[in-house]
Each structure stands twice: as C-alpha cells, then as structure tokens.
Amino acid sequence: MNRFHWTRHFRTRHFRRARQITVLGVVLAMTAIVVPPATVRNAPTALVKVESVRGIDHEPHVIWILALGSDARPGQSVVRSRADAIQLVGVNTKTGAATAIGIPRDSYVNIPGQGRNKINAALYFGGPQLMAGAVADMVGIRPDYVFTTGFLGFRAMVQSMGGITVRSKYSFTDVVMPGGYRVGKNKLNGLQALIFARIRYGLPRGDFDRSANQQRTMVGILREVRSKADKPGFMERSLLSVVKNMDTNLRPSELFMLAQALTQIQPDKITRCVIGGSTGSAGAASVVFPDIGQARSIANRARKDATLNGRC
C-alpha cells in the first residue's frame, strides 16, 4: 500500500527535517533552473505535504517487559533452565521511547526464597515468576510481562524475519560468521544473531559487553519488525507463529494489542544501559557483584515514562 507514508515514520524528527530541507532545496534549485518565470502552467510534477498521526490505546501506557534468553537444551523447558540473557525493557507507548536495562547473567543477588545466587538461576528455581521477583528485588521495577525464548526459538524468530542488522562495537571472530563480526553494521542470520548475543570471549568487558550486544540484537530485531510492519499481513502472520510456538497466558487479542503497542517504539529513542559492577568469586563460582545503587538509580529515573534522563 502506501509505502512512502510508512517510510516517513521510521526517520528521526531531526533527520526528517534535514531530509525535507534537502529535498526542498533540490526541488527549489531545479525549479529555478527549469521553470519559466511567471507563466500559468500545468506542472508535470508536484510536491504535496502529507501530515500523519499515530496513537495506540494501551493501559498502562508504560509497559515493563523482562526479556529472557533461556539456555535450555533440546528437551529441556525454556522456563525452567538458566537465563543466558536478561534484559528489562520499559516501553512508553505514547512517546515511542524505551529504556533497556541489561542485567549481567552472573549478577550475584538475593533470589526470593532461595538465598544468594547468580540471578540467572532464578529461572531454573522458580520459572518466570521468580525471575521477575529477583529482578524486581535487584532493580526496583516489577515487570508486567516476562518473555522467554530458547536458542531454537530465537534463531527461528530472526530467520523468519529474513535476518537482522546489528551495529557491533567490537570486532571478534566465530566460526558461524565468515570474516568475523565487524565494527559497525553486520547483517546476521538466525544463528549468527544468536552467537552475537551469547558470545563473551573476545569482548573486553566480558559479561557486560555481552549484555550490551544483547541490547544491540533487540534493537536490530525491532528495526526489522518496524520496517516490515507495513506489509499487509506481516504482523498477523508473525503473531500467529508466536501463538503457535510460545507458551503464554495472554489471550490472542491481548497479544495482538501488546505487539502493536511495542511497534510504537522508535529505535532511535531507545536508551540502553548495562548495570555495572565488579567481578569476583562466590565459593567456586565466578560472579558479578552488581552495582545495585546504579541499578536503582536507572530504574527510578525511567520508571514513570521509560525515558532515561542523564547517563547510565
């Protein structure tokens, strides 16, 4: 249908304005050269202003979602394994802003009813509910939804989109990526995206940089979804696949409304933070002692509008 109309939404306001000025400049320059002065004419070209608005009804309009990547092996339950990726994402459906808070999986924290342990064990001990509780204890925000996917589900999801593009901060190698991952844009298939989100060897800050790569992966997925959301039937087909392949207690209509609300996120309005900390050991395990003060500070600033003012 109207591709031009959709393309407009995916640009930042700044870029859009710059582009409009550029286009207008080109048009005016061409007009000055081509058009004879002061004559009545039937112009062979036209420039028409198109105004647009968008809105969605979702209460509350700020949604917090805990996105988990489970390390379940074939035959294991994705919601009763350890969480390899832990991202708490706040979305403002009115402004299109979002804040992603990355939690290093080795964060050594209190898990309700289980004592101190790595936070990723909460999924194993008590499924998504306990994981949500552990994150709430650590960060101070209780997620409204917990989305969990395993290796196969993640690969299939990226593959069904035709791959994603991520921007890497570092170059590193892996056998699945011929030529290795480069600094800057990388076009990845499902397996390459999975490795990009999981690998920590070769990254200077190990677990922290891996968490940042998981956020880059999420942004890549979101950009891909937004670029295809205008294709008739894309959202419905994707959601049907989700309904068939995901365990959820949401009704399909709730899922439809939630997914449409999430497409309101503007990728350039996403703030990304990874909770810092120091590495050490607890017993025989190497762990991260997270900076709880920083985690609470980020959460407090982003809690109401999913917008993070100031630095991480």
Binding site: E59, D230, R251, F256, M257
Partner: protein
C-alpha cells in the same frame, strides 16, 4: 479484501467483515463524510474508538476529522472508501484486525477552490466483550491537493 493468518470459517469471515466494516464506516462518516456542512460538531467522530484511543484521537482531531476545514466546506463528495483487512485468527476466532484504509473525498467550497483529500494508513481493531469491534490504534496520514489535480484514487 481480507487476509487471514490462521483459520476463519466462511460464515465467521463474513460476519467479521460486516462488523469491522461498520466500525470503520461509522468513523469515516462521523469524521469526514457525514453531517450537514458547514458543520462544527465532531464530538461523535470517535464513537467506534476505544476509550483511550478516542482520548488520544481528540488531540489529533485536526487530521483525524474535518474539524479544521469544516467551516469553509459547503459539501463533501466521497470518491473512494476502501479498507483491506489483515486478520489474526488462531483457532477459528478473530483476535485482532489491521485495516489498511484509503478514503478519498472532495471538499467542496463556495468561496475557494475545491480540495481533494486523501486519508490513508492503518487502523487497529480488536473485539470488545460486547462483541462489537472497536479501533484501539491508528496510524493515519492526510494529504490535500486542489481538486482536479493529484489524480490519486
């Protein structure tokens, strides 16, 4: 045209098209095509919107209705009214609909040149407990050219 992701029996599809069509058509009429022009009252424009969507839409009424043009319009002539539906229907029940809309009309003016207005974009609908369908989201663009130019249909 209706695309279905999932399954929807023929009778249910027909019923869905009628109900969704009614919600969209009511909006088009209340916001753009209906009423006695010149008109000033657009309070019922969003009657088929959900409460939250209607609240937001009132803030965007200059694009989502003829409110800004209404005083200078003598009459409205519909040219094209079209909605293509994409339906999410797992288990033979429709859960959500994306309607790709295109509405074209000419706003006749007695004092100035007539204007050909095109409204296009997406409306998002889901079913209420009552069984009626309502619009809970919108992504709509509006363009206007002097009538007779911009031959888009």
């Amino acid at each position: 045209m209706t695309r279905v992701a999932g399954t929807l029996k023929k009778a249910r599809r027909g019923s869905l098209e009628r109900k969704v069509g009614r919600a969209i058509s009511s909006y088009f009429d209340a916001a753009y095509l209906g009423g006695e022009y010149p008109r000033a009252d657009f309070t019922k424009a969003f009657a088929t919107f959900s409460e939250g969507a209607a609240r937001q839409a009132r803030g965007d009424r200059s694009l989502l209705t003829n409110a800004d043009l209404a005083k200078s319009i003598a009459a409205v002539t519909p040219i094209r009214k079209d909605a293509r539906l994409s339906v999410l229907a797992p288990k033979n029940v429709a859960a959500g609909v994306t309607a790709r809309i295109r509405l074209v009309f000419v706003a006749d003016s007695e004092e100035a040149q007539d204007t050909r207005v095109t409204i296009s974009g997406r409306l998002l609908l889901t079913r209420m407990k009552s069984g009626r369908w309502h619009i809970f989201g919108y992504d709509v663009a509006r363009s206007a050219v002097p009538a007779g130019k911009g031959a888009s249909r």
